[in-house]
């Protein structure tokens, strides 16, 4: 068992939720995740040097400038131009459907913690983190920046959010497409319980503008298994629609419909190089962060390769 796997098991979402301060929470998670995870995407030294930064735990020792260490007796990491330009925007779905919990955490609580952790992670990596909260309307937009004050602002906004109303992911993506500069990274955190066609179109549009797009789907365990045993009327959290059902009778159909819905989203995403993963509210946050970090590294590699190809082409 690796150290990374061990750390994945020790962060329980429900225990984390007891930490009131999102910043502290995010720091707790991120510091647990960082060791061994943060691996440099660079394979050579042809990328343009940008600056030194102090070594932090988890940095690849290969990037330590040992000569500088010999002179100053302090560890510093070499940073390159591409690394510092990652601009990541985190989209958080604040619709009423996110306010559902069969037990323990609501999907919104989980998503909020996830977004906070991602923001903290980005900040630690000296990346720029932006934030959009939406339901049927745009609730909040914080453009990507990489300073601590900015991070604090994101946490404050996260704290103040309450899930309500219907969700309009397509509208939020549309807005993001208008305001975002090219070659950034977009992370959508949502339960994806909306009509998919328009949302997919906007995700494709973002991809077309060279954004790396990651979709983190948040689910509740009850949504995945439909464990109810007594017939009842079910009320849609967003629309208020009522649907009478005998669970034993409709369970198979429910699970099939749900699987078809998400399979089709997944197919569309993968067809357009959009990474997508599903997280359950009982799942440790580490996995989500790990998934994100991996994707970020791939994105940086892609970005640097494109940059190098562009430079080589100019000669």
């Amino acid at each position: 068992m690796t150290k990374q796997e061990t750390s994945l098991q020790i962060i329980d979402p429900e225990q984390l939720a007891k930490i009131a301060d999102l910043q502290v929470l995010a720091r707790t998670v991120v510091e647990g995740v960082m060791p061994g995870l943060h691996r440099s995407p660079h394979s050579g030294s042809s990328i343009e040097f940008a600056q030194y930064r102090p070594y932090t735990q988890g940095d690849d020792l290969r990037n330590v400038d040992w000569k500088l260490y010999g002179r100053t007796d302090r560890l510093h990491i070499k940073q390159y131009q591409e690394e510092t330009t990652l601009r990541c925007t985190l989209l958080l779905d604040c619709s009423a459907s996110m306010d559902y919990a069969s037990a323990g955490l609501t999907k919104f609580d989980y998503a909020r913690m996830l977004v906070a952790c991602l923001a903290m992670l980005l900040h630690r990596q000296r990346d720029a983190a932006g934030f959009i909260a939406y339901h049927k309307e745009l609730l909040q937009y914080i453009p990507p920046l990489s300073n601590a004050l900015h991070l604090r602002r994101i946490f404050v906004e996260l704290d103040n959010l309450e899930p309500q109303g219907t969700g309009d992911t397509a509208g939020a993506l549309h807005y993001l497409g208008d305001v975002l500069k090219p070659r950034g990274m977009v992370v959508l955190v949502s339960d994806l319980l909306h009509p998919m066609d328009e949302m997919i179109e906007h995700l494709k549009s973002l991809r077309a503008r060279r954004h790396d797009v990651v979709v983190l789907q948040i689910s509740d365990p009850a949504e995945q298994t439909f464990p109810f045993d007594k017939s009842a009327t079910f009320i849609d959290a967003e629309s208020g629609d009522e649907q009478y059902a005998v669970p034993e009778a409709v369970r198979d159909n429910y699970l099939r419909n749900r699987r078809e819905h998400f399979d089709s989203i997944r197919r569309e995403c993968l067809a357009h190089e959009i990474d997508i993963a599903e997280f359950t509210t009982t799942e440790p946050l580490d996995r989500a962060l790990h998934f994100f970090l991996q994707h970020r590294n791939h994105a940086l590699i892609r970005s640097s390769l494109k940059s190098r190809r562009a430079e080589g082409g100019g000669r």
Binding site: S97, M98, Y100, K107, D191, L193, D220, E223, F228, K230, S231, A232, T233, F234, I235, D236, A237, E238, D241, E242, Q243, Y244, A245, V246, E248, A249, V250, N253, Y254, L255, N257, R258, H261
Partner: protein, 716 residues
């Protein structure tokens, strides 16, 4: 006629019907809407489905209400009541005076009161109404029949009075139900009935002490028809003292002597002190005990007979007198077992140390006082001579060692059995199966085959794995310590085949035991009036270890006792019983001599006599003796006693008596004074024709099953 309820209060339980409704209402909140993240994946259920489910739930609720209704109805015990007879439709009346003459009526003063009551009843009957008088105990006797002539009706009262005056207490017990049924049949079948209209009334005037012991514990279901009225006059002693000898037995004691056991019962409510109990044997008082018997209980005493006492024993146990004396003496008899002549037929084998006949001779002692048989061993050549001579003719023949038995020997044995003789036939290897099949077994369901083993080896044998423990031979072996015959080893035997099933008889053949290979190890065959039992193995140590096994002697004894119908002791008869013809000792012409108790001298009876049935009824306690015509000694002596339970003078309440024998119409008039309660009659005096409580409970059970099934189908 109509429905009514025996326990209507239980209908209050029907109020529980509200329970299912409340439960269905209470359970509703559980179906309050559930807020869910999205219903977009939940398939639509059509309105009809919802409606159907609603109806299903209503049906379920109704089903549960029905269950409770059934439960309440079952406990309220609905019944169908029979109609009481309509007095206006009744016609002329006939009277039957039934006077109890059972021996319990001999209690001091009771029978005189009964006679007075009978005379009073006769006096009260109108002059033109026909009267019949019948006396009864265990049987019914018409002592003054109906007279059909109108002019003679006036004289019938006088005849009835004379019959009452002449009536005497007998020795029989009481059987109310059978007597009443018989009395009704006799009265209905009398000549007067033919002239009477169908609406004619019959009134039975029963005068009895209404003993509880005279009524069967389990009701037979018969009741007097509604057209018959029953008036009961109970005549009982105010406080009678009665002790009785209710049982006597003769048992063999450890020293081969005999013991007479007597049970003394005190029927009364007072303890009896210093009760003298005497043993009188062959007319001589041998021993006397003094006992104390507590009220309503019994005690047992035993008298030891001197071992020198032999031969037929006739005696009785005598108590000192009380209010009812007839049951103070109880007779017993004991007949020594008759010697049975057993002929052992075997080859003379001087060169063999242990020939088969030797084992039989050792097992069946020849000394006269050593067993119930006298044995003689002969060679097969002499068999026919013995059979032809009546003086030498045996009861049982044991053919234990016939060297290659010839057809004429087999035919002799078969003929002997056909005439009532008994044969134990031991097969061996020298007998030809074909000859046996032709002469012995043909048409009798048995076939002899080859020998089981061609060569005898000590390590090659079969065991006896099954015996018919219900057969009289094996009854003494039924105990778990004795029923294992698997220690017996059979190194060879003749394979027999029988057409019968394992446990059932087929025709004249019965398999009594089987070897492990399912081949019969012992076969009984009926031949004419006699029997033959076959052992398919030679009784020598080369073929079997049976002779040196501890089971050999008892098995041989039981086999011979079964074949010879060996009996000892005696049968105890009861006054009122009719002696069955097979209990008589008769000669070839069906002639036997009997001496019945109470009669003086011998009476020769032929079974073909017309009145033999009437003559063979035991009327008095004493000794019942039988012998062959012309014989000097009595062959069998049995004791006859009064019915012991009749001594219990505990009366049955009149109301209960009426309820047991009459229907609603007969009870209606006197129900208030009778204070009727109980089983077959409701509070209004109607007969409970059919009660439905149990049927409803069964219906309830069925509905519970339906409800369970319905619930599971709803969940599915």
């Amino acid at each position: 006629m109509g429905f009514s309820l025996l326990a209507p209060l239980f209908l209050v339980g029907a109020g529980l019907l509200i329970a299912p409704y409340l439960i269905h209402q209470i359970r509703r909140p559980e179906r309050e809407p559930i807020r869910f993240s999205s219903v977009m994946f939940i398939p639509n259920i059509h309105k009809e489905v919802i409606e159907r489910r609603r109806i299903q739930h209503i049906l379920l609720m109704l089903l549960r209400m029905l269950l409770l209704l059934l439960l309440a109805a079952a406990f309220s015990r609905p019944y169908w009541k029979a109609l009481a007879a309509d007095d206006s439709e009744l016609g002329p009346v006939r009277h039957v005076v039934l006077l109890d003459t059972s021996y319990s009526m001999g209690t001091r003063g009771v029978f005189a009161r009964a006679k007075r009551a009978a005379r009073g009843i006769i006096s009260d009957i109108a002059a033109d109404e026909p009267i019949s008088v019948m006396t009864f105990a265990q049987t019914l006797k018409v002592v003054a029949p109906f007279v059909s002539d109108t002019d003679a009706k006036a004289g019938s009262k006088e005849a009835a009075r004379r019959a009452i005056d002449a009536a005497e207490v007998g020795s029989e017990g009481t059987a109310y139900l059978s007597v009443l049924e018989l009395a009704h049949q006799r009265a209905a079948g009398a000549g007067v009935a033919k002239q009477a209209s169908e609406r004619e009334r019959l009134i039975l005037h029963l005068i009895s002490d209404l003993q509880k012991s005279g009524m069967p514990k389990h009701h037979a279901g018969w009741k007097l028809p509604p057209s018959v009225e029953l008036e009961v006059v109970a005549v009982q002693a105010d406080s009678a003292r009665n002790h009785a000898v209710t049982d006597t037995h003769i048992r063999k004691s450890a020293d081969d002597g005999l013991r007479v056991l007597a049970k003394i019962r005190n029927w009364s409510d007072r303890d009896v002190e210093d009760l003298d109990v005497s043993l009188v044997l062959n007319g001589e008082t041998l021993e006397q005990h003094t006992l104390s018997v507590r009220a309503r209980s019994a005690t047992q005493t035993s008298f030891r007979l001197d071992p020198s006492v032999s031969g037929t024993l006739e005696g009785y146990i005598q108590l000192k007198d009380d209010d009812l004396s007839i049951d103070n003496r109880r007779f017993f008899a004991w007949n020594p077992p008759r010697k049975m002549r057993v002929l052992i037929v075997a080859e003379d084998r001087p060169n063999e140390l242990w020939p088969a006949s030797w084992f039989f001779q050792q097992a069946l002692p020849t000394q006269p006082d050593e067993g119930p048989w006298s044995t003689e061993t002969i060679r097969p050549e002499a068999l026919q001579e013995y059979l032809d001579n009546p003086r030498q003719r045996p009861k049982v023949i044991v053919a234990c060692d016939l060297e290659g038995a010839r057809a004429d020997e087999m035919r002799s044995l078969l003929e002997f059995a056909g005439e009532g003789g008994q044969v134990l036939f031991v097969l061996n290897g020298s007998m030809e199966p074909e000859l046996m099949n032709t002469v012995l077994f043909e048409g009798r369901g048995v076939t002899a085959r080859k020998l089981r083993f061609s060569k005898i080896r000590p390590d090659q044998f079969e065991v006896m794995s099954w015996v018919d423990l219900d057969h009289p031979i094996f009854v003494p072996f039924q105990g778990t310590r004795f029923n294992d015959f698997s220690a017996l080893r059979f190194y060879n035997y003749v394979i027999l085949e029988s057409g019968e099933d394992r446990n059932h008889r087929l025709g004249m053949t019965r398999v009594l035991a089987r070897f492990d290979d399912d081949s019969p190890a012992m076969v009984e065959m009926e031949v004419g009036a006699g029997r033959m039992i076959f052992w398919p193995f030679a009784v020598n140590l080369e073929w079997t270890n049976l002779p040196k096994n501890p089971r050999f002697v008892p098995l041989l004894y039981e086999t011979l006792a079964y074949l010879g119908d060996l009996q000892e002791g005696a049968v105890t008869w009861e006054v009122g019983q009719r002696v069955p013809a097979e209990a008589l000792v008769v000669d070839d012409s069906g002639l036997g001599v009997i001496q019945l108790p109470g009669e003086t001298g011998d009476t020769e009876i032929r079974l073909a006599d017309e009145d033999v049935e009437e003559r063979l009824v035991l009327r008095e306690p004493g000794f019942f003796r039988t012998k062959l015509s012309g014989a000097a000694d009595w062959r069998q002596v049995d004791a006859t006693n009064v019915r012991a339970a009749e001594g219990d003078l505990t009366p049955i309440p009149t109301a209960e008596f009426l309820m047991k024998v009459t229907t609603a119409s007969q009870l209606e008039a006197g129900r208030d004074e009778a204070g009727l309660v109980g089983t077959n009659v409701d509070d209004e005096g109607y007969l409970i024709s059919k009660e439905y409580g149990r049927a409803l409970l069964f219906a309830l059970l069925a509905f519970v099953l339906i409800e369970s099934w319905y619930m599971s189908s709803l969940k599915g």
